[in-house]
Symmetry: none
Subunit: 222 residues, 2 copies
């Protein structure tokens, strides 16, 4: 009903312009002017609509409301960005202790391996005990489905079977990486009684097989 009246008005003015030929008026340029102004208005309204579509959905369709809420929303976003980057900086400053390894892993994402296992001996200057050694075992698993719970459970149950290692401490994290895959990282500090035989490479390979098997099974189930 609104569109119809607008079209009516337009045709009416067009008629008037065509009648102007009798009145010997330079309507040729006036018509261009009219059309240009019309185009300009359409373009402006278009921008108004697209801008409104980006604002929080409860916004009024008023032009004034669009402008003011755009202003408010913009300042709000700015404040969010400032606060987030500040918080981010704080977090990154506090991070160094253990996260560099994971950071390296993330940066080394060029490797397409879904599971990586590294085993490094901890040289503890405080207790240079000869009959037992301490190792840090880090397991990183990239997977869509595997949850950290299953991963930790599997590793711990495997560890219980190995009778000359005991768990000192354990740290596990999970976070999103890229589009949809998430990264599970587990770091275990192990005390190894050196009395019996201890094959470092074999142990590491066994852990790798356990985790890879878990990933395969989970992918199969879902």
């Amino acid at each position: 009903m609104l569109k119809r009246s607008i079209s009516f008005l337009r045709s009416l003015n067009l008629m008037r312009l065509r009648e102007g030929i009798q009145a010997t008026r330079p309507t040729s340029s006036q018509l261009h002017h009219m059309i240009s102004e019309r185009k300009r208005r359409e373009k402006l309204n278009e921008s108004f609509h697209t801008l409104k579509s980006l604002l929080p959905p409860g916004t009024k369709k008023d032009k004034a409301s669009v402008l003011t809420t755009a202003r408010e929303y913009l300042t709000s976003l700015r404040a969010q960005v400032a606060e987030l980057s500040k918080r981010n900086q704080q977090l990154e400053a506090r991070l160094p202790p253990a996260a560099k390894e994971a950071y390296n892993e993330e940066a080394a994402g060029s490797s397409n391996e879904r599971v990586s296992v590294t085993l490094t001996q901890v040289v503890s200057e405080s207790t240079p005990d000869q009959d037992q050694q301490i190792f840090d075992l880090q397991v990183v698993l990239r997977s869509v489905e595997c949850c950290t719970e299953d991963m930790v459970i599997r590793i711990l149950e495997f560890l219980k079977q190995v009778n000359n290692v005991s768990l000192m401490s354990l740290e596990a994290n999970t976070w999103m990486s890229g589009s949809d895959s998430n990264v599970n990282r587990v770091i275990l500090r192990l005390r190894v009684d050196q009395g019996t035989e201890w094959d470092e490479a074999a142990f590491q390979e066994a852990v790798r097989r356990v985790v890879a098997d878990l990933a395969l099974n989970n992918c199969r189930n879902q």
Copy 2:
């Protein structure tokens, strides 16, 4: 130079309206209408200017340019917020919740209970999401026989049954305390989807029962 012509136009039209008295026209309401429209335009232009002042300083003063660059700037800010909060979440997940050692000692030392479970909500100012909350669950178990592996496994398997909580990070330690008993401490950072019902006390009690049951069984077995 522009202002002068505008003022001239205004006075001219005012004169025309006053002449309308002779023509017996109801110009009383027309004048109000005119003034209202004028006010509306001023207000709108004001909003345009204030909006432009918030945009990057190189912006054209065109109304169309203001609208389009506002749109672009807004989407850019949105993307920044999304990326920052994502990065922030990664950092927070990787940050061990170990800043409460003193708090742990206090909670563990005051009570003679062999198992203590504390659940504290993490107020994250960076991601104030309403539909999900973050909790730190700390479980401390004094026992002679129970190894940390069993404790972690039991807690994680219980957690898998609760379907609206997911594990963000996990930290476990064990150390000697006093003569022969050792202390196992597990701290879990949990994300709780607030959609369903969430009884904090019930959850805490359930965890306590699970761990206490584990301790009893292990003592019986050994």
